[in-house]
């Protein structure tokens, strides 16, 4: 469990390299008062996310595993994409959990 926050973006970055034909990819960690968001956004070819969102388990292509990981932490995973306009994936988890994880690691 303690590997989860870093694992989702790592997997996502690997996917960007493999599939997206992106020229730019940004990894943004947003610390807020009560939650932490990790965003991975690229300017690649994107895809049509509705096709994925339609499946009740949250899609395929490793997104299911990513979503489960985040939801196990009471967080949410959002996937935003549009053909030709890149892809953004955002994982957001409550901050108390981040505290716990940090303490668990030390």
């Amino acid at each position: 469990m303690s590997r989860s926050p870093s694992c989702a973006p790592r997997r996502r970055l690997a996917n960007v390299g493999k599939h997206a034909s992106a020229t730019q990819v940004g990894l943004t960690l947003s610390y807020m008062e009560d939650e932490v968001a990790v965003d991975v956004r690229d300017d690649g070819m994107g895809f049509y996310p509705a096709g994925l969102a339609l499946s009740a388990d949250g899609g395929g292509f490793g997104l299911t595993a990513m979503r489960q990981r985040v939801e196990r932490l009471s967080g949410t995973l959002e996937i935003e994409s549009e053909t030709g306009a890149g892809t953004a994936i955002s994982a957001c988890v409550p901050a108390p959990l981040v505290e716990e994880l940090r303490q668990g690691q030390t």
Binding site: G26, M32, D34, A37, R41, E78, E80, S90, C92
Partner: protein, 236 residues
């Protein structure tokens, strides 16, 4: 199935009788993106003759559609959902004049979520760790139009009334607000900051909570009032 045609709320029709076992059951809609949560709630509520579950929605947009079609007495609404989140759905219900009471049922008890849900028009705010009896009581109270708050949520609200300024905006929040003040949509602000729209929305919720407002126009106005933004503000 009854439908409300003249906008009278649940209290006008069946308020006092619902859920007591003597009158018509309280008619419910459950909105939660987790199937297990929906099934659990639905099973718990249908086991009680005082409640009738009319439908289930997996996201905010579906909740709004079903609420309009089914006109439930009470909507149990999760906040974090794909497509359209709970707060947006609550505001949309109010905008469309749907008179169903909304009882927020979520894992989040943070300031930004509580305040924006209540400002959007939620009747109550309950946490998912609430005991079953408390949940059933809360649904009955919400059907009567009474405000229901989990103790930790009530504490947060009281705290906010006593100290309305919830701290300064972070650098990032100011950046988001500057873009919004400049007319950017969430999508445009997200593209500019190279983050997801979801994160821009989250920043905005925090900004609303800190400024004590409930929409982007009011946030911009309040930020100018407080001198957080000035007409000459330019992004570097």
């Amino acid at each position: 199935m009854t439908s409300i045609t003249e906008g009278n709320g649940p209290d006008g029709r069946r308020g006092e009788s619902g859920g007591t076992g003597t009158g018509a059951p309280i008619r419910l809609l459950i909105a939660d993106d987790h199937p297990v949560a929906r099934d659990g709630l639905s099973g718990m509520l249908t086991a009680d003759p005082g409640f009738e579950v009319l439908g289930e929605a997996a996201d905010g947009a579906e909740a709004v559609r079903l609420a309009q079609a089914l006109q439930p007495d009470v909507i149990l609404m999760d906040l974090r959902m794909p497509e359209m989140d709970g707060v947006t759905a609550i505001a949309e219900l109010a905008r469309r004049g749907v008179s169903s009471r909304v009882l927020v049922l979520t894992t989040y008890d943070t300031d930004s979520h509580v305040l924006s849900a209540i400002e959007a028009g939620a009747t109550g705010y309950l946490l998912k760790d609430a005991p079953q009896a408390e949940l059933l009581r809360a649904v009955r109270a919400a059907a009567r139009g009474e405000a229901v708050l989990s103790p930790s949520v009530a504490t947060r609200l009281i705290g906010r009334v006593r100290s309305p300024d919830a701290g300064p905006l972070s650098q990032r929040e100011l950046e988001v607000l500057e873009l919004v003040a400049g007319g950017s949509t969430n999508r445009e602000a997200a593209a500019r900051l190279f983050v997801s729209e979801a994160t821009v929305k989250t920043h905005l919720l925090h900004i609303y909570a800190k400024l004590g407002v409930s929409d982007r126009a009011a946030a911009v106005a309040e930020a100018f009032n407080r001198g957080l933004l000035t007409p000459s503000t330019k992004r570097p």
